[in-house]
Symmetry: C2
Subunit: 219 residues, 2 copies
DNA sequence: ACCTGAACACCGTTCAAGT
DNA sequence: ACCTGAACACCGTTCAAGT
């Protein structure tokens, strides 16, 4: 572990992916990665110009692994849904990765595989070619936002989560029925944002895809 | 400015909102806030247990200001859209606020006003009462995710943004047509995630609302 | 009783000085 | 030529010691 040797860029990426997966993903740092490798953080800056560049490379690598064994199944909507869930699982508890990927995607094979499959599915939908890029963009924005938001939420420390839940309860159950009649009426049934995440993800995406599908049918 | 006096919680919140609005919102820190107030960061911890608690309070205050002068107009879909855009504008360039709000909302009057208005709009949609809480939840998750994602993206430093754009261009324009035929085919028309944010926000939300509307009509 | 200087345990990043 | 110790400029948070 503490061996004094040179690390290849590949090895550094693998170690980073491992640390993000097993460790406390929200607190991943260049210094911790260097410590795992038995070296100083400064030496990593020979391989990457910044932490963001490192994270982008790791994100692509994780995406590549997530796409391993993927085969398109079902109609175009099922294909996009299956793909989105794969990406969601891959970044699920890694807010730092989800954030860099959600900002600009990355430039490696992993990202390309995801883009390619979504574009192919959209072609199979019957949408005219000239509408596909903008539909692709909306789907990408939606998926990236949902995944980043979930990853962020899942990394919140337990005590902060509990505080947040309590705040939500107070906001809802303590609402004055005179001033907030609808809120008071639904107080016992309204769920906090963190509840039911998987179902929310699938339903929101399904609504978006149904909207696109409507555009493929003559009105 | 450097006066040695005691600050009320109200004054601290106002100063924090001001600093978030005018300063470099992504790098807002307790220490910088203390410097603006002419005191030490440690003294702020008498008013707030943590930075998150401070940010939650500021977020609610900003939401309250954003709701000032709001009057429902149009049908239920227009009401929710107008509201979502108000919240979007309020948090637009403040990723730290958007993040805390997106995690659990907050417990103040600002959050309650937003919740109340969305719930009232949903009631006006003709949706049966027992379906409203889950629909509300999906809308809230979607809006929070989109706003946090946009706020995050807008706060990215210019040089990192340029790097990201360049990566995206390479990923798309450099894709091997043999392996990524659809990507190569659409290479010149696919837009990066950061493009066209406002239109994307409105369209994605509209798709979600159209999906809900479909549930209000007999099939 | 109230406040705060100083410290603790961290960050990302740079670069002069060493091998 | 290559590497790295030490430093720079920060963080959020705590608490003993002061007034």
């Amino acid at each position: 572990m503490a061996g004094r040797r040179r690390w290849s860029t590949e090895e550094i990426l693998d170690a980073a992916a491992e640390l993000l997966r097993t460790g406390d993903a929200e607190s991943f740092s260049v210094r911790k990665l260097a410590a795992v490798l038995g070296t100083d953080s400064s030496s990593l800056y020979r391989h990457f110009r910044s932490k963001t560049e490192l994270l982008r490379a790791v994100a692509d690598r994780i995406l590549l692994a997530a796409m391993d064994g993927y085969h398109p199944e079902g109609d175009w909507k099922q294909r996009i849904t299956a793909l989105a869930l794969r990406v969601r699982d891959a970044f699920g508890r890694q807010p730092q990765l989800a954030a860099v990927w959600g900002r600009y995607a990355s430039s490696g094979t992993g990202s390309r595989l995801v883009m390619e499959e979504v574009l192919q599915a959209l072609r199979a939908s019957g949408l005219p070619d000239d509408e596909i890029p903008v539909r692709y963009h909306r789907i990408a924005v939606l998926i990236a936002a949902l995944i980043a938001s979930e990853a962020h939420a899942s990394a919140v420390a337990p005590e902060e989560r509990e505080q947040g839940m309590e705040l939500f309860r107070v906001a809802v159950l303590g609402a004055d029925p005179e001033r907030f009649p609808a809120l008071a009426h639904f107080a016992r049934d309204v769920r906090p944002l963190g509840a039911d995440r998987r179902a929310a993800f699938e339903e929101i995406l399904a609504a978006q895809l149904a909207h696109i599908e409507a555009a493929t049918r003559p009105s």
